[in-house]
Subunit: 227 residues, 2 copies
């Protein structure tokens, strides 16, 4: 007879479960939205049954919060560190940060979070608030610091930094959101790489101080234009 090992139906894996559940949850939330994702499905993808989810998380919302905390917050901390260090021109720093965020959000499922939150904010204000406090307000602050520094050093023309922060992030956020929503409708998706470099090019051209071009730090800015 050839069933030498009677396969046990499940294992106790107290340590591994939460991380596996969080990983499954973030994937599915991003794919189908918070409301439309069934807890049973998350459990299945993590290789357990629905009841098990409730051994580790008190509710669907709790699971979501864990996903955000583990998926995004560490990246933010990393960028904050980069800005502290402050080497080279602001333009270069901005470019690096944007490209870096670009690759992270392209490679990992956390890139789907912006879409998820936009989609569910109205119906789950608690989640929206959480994400806003934990992620958005922090990232906003971070870019505003960078823009102010650029203006102070004469690299950038003067502008309203609170508004410009939103504007310059928009192309990146929008593309990320697109990739997780309507992109399935188009025949030939655009090259992400190319998109990012074109967007950065546009933004840096649009931000820089008026005097011809220079690109180096010792061009002193003159009076500003009004278009």
């Amino acid at each position: 007879m050839i069933h030498p090992v009677e396969e046990s139906r499940w294992r106790r894996r107290k340590e591994a479960r939460p991380a596996e559940l969080v990983a499954a949850a973030i994937e599915l939330f991003v794919e189908k939205g918070f409301a439309a994702t069934r807890l049973e499905e998350i459990a299945a993808r993590a290789g357990v049954s629905k009841g098990t989810v409730y051994l580790y998380f008190s509710s669907k919302e709790d699971l979501f919060k864990a996903a955000v905390r583990e998926g995004v917050v560490p990246h933010l901390a990393e960028v904050e560190r980069l800005i502290e260090e402050d080497t080279g021109s602001v333009a270069d720093l901005l470019r690096n940060i944007l490209l870096n965020a670009w690759h992270v959000s392209g490679d990992s499922p956390v890139g789907g979070l912006p879409k998820l939150l936009v989609a569910e904010a109205r119906n789950f204000p608690v989640l929206a608030r959480f994400y806003y406090d934990e992620v958005i307000s922090r990232s906003t602050r971070l870019f505003i610091v960078l823009l102010e520094r650029g203006i102070a050093r004469g690299e950038f023309r003067p502008f309203d930094v609170k508004i410009m922060e939103r504007i310059i992030l928009a192309p990146f956020l929008m593309h990320t959101i697109w990739r997780h929503s309507l992109s399935c409708c188009e025949a030939s998706p655009l090259s992400s790489e190319h998109y990012a470099t074109e967007a950065i090019e546009l933004i840096l051209r649009g931000l820089r101080a008026d005097k011809p071009v220079g690109q180096t730090e010792h061009t002193k800015p003159k009076g500003k234009k009004h278009a």
Copy 2:
């Protein structure tokens, strides 16, 4: 005795119902999303009962399609006309079209459609496809024509128009989406007016041909820089 008219519980209003239902539907879809909006609620807001909805529309999806067709498609046709006419510089035309779209989407509930579609695209591919074909592909085509014209006339530097179209629309779409989602989390929303003008300023600076500024059509573009 003073109840001269016995109030009837309802009236027959065959002509008015569809429009009222569509209006209620678009409002609620935008507010709460397609899936989360109950048909009963749409009916209530339109002053009828749930069954009545099915006298005029075959399904929830059908109601949605009617909303898109009545709310957006006419605006697109108008813009297409504007581009045909083609008066003045491309930059001015672009500015006008963007500002005009800006005001429409700020004032009417159709401004909520981008958010709605982004949110539901994955779960309702049929709706996404419909919106893509009916609205997105048409609007894309329209802006690409404009950008190509700008490059051909030497007003804009050369770039990949398919990509740039997405990039320059992003700030406007993103803000519109924001207003219908996470904006409820922030204490002081930004001035829409100011946002739009700053975005346009950034974009036109970022697009224009390299030689000093000119703004007129007879500056011949020279070799392009690489930043």
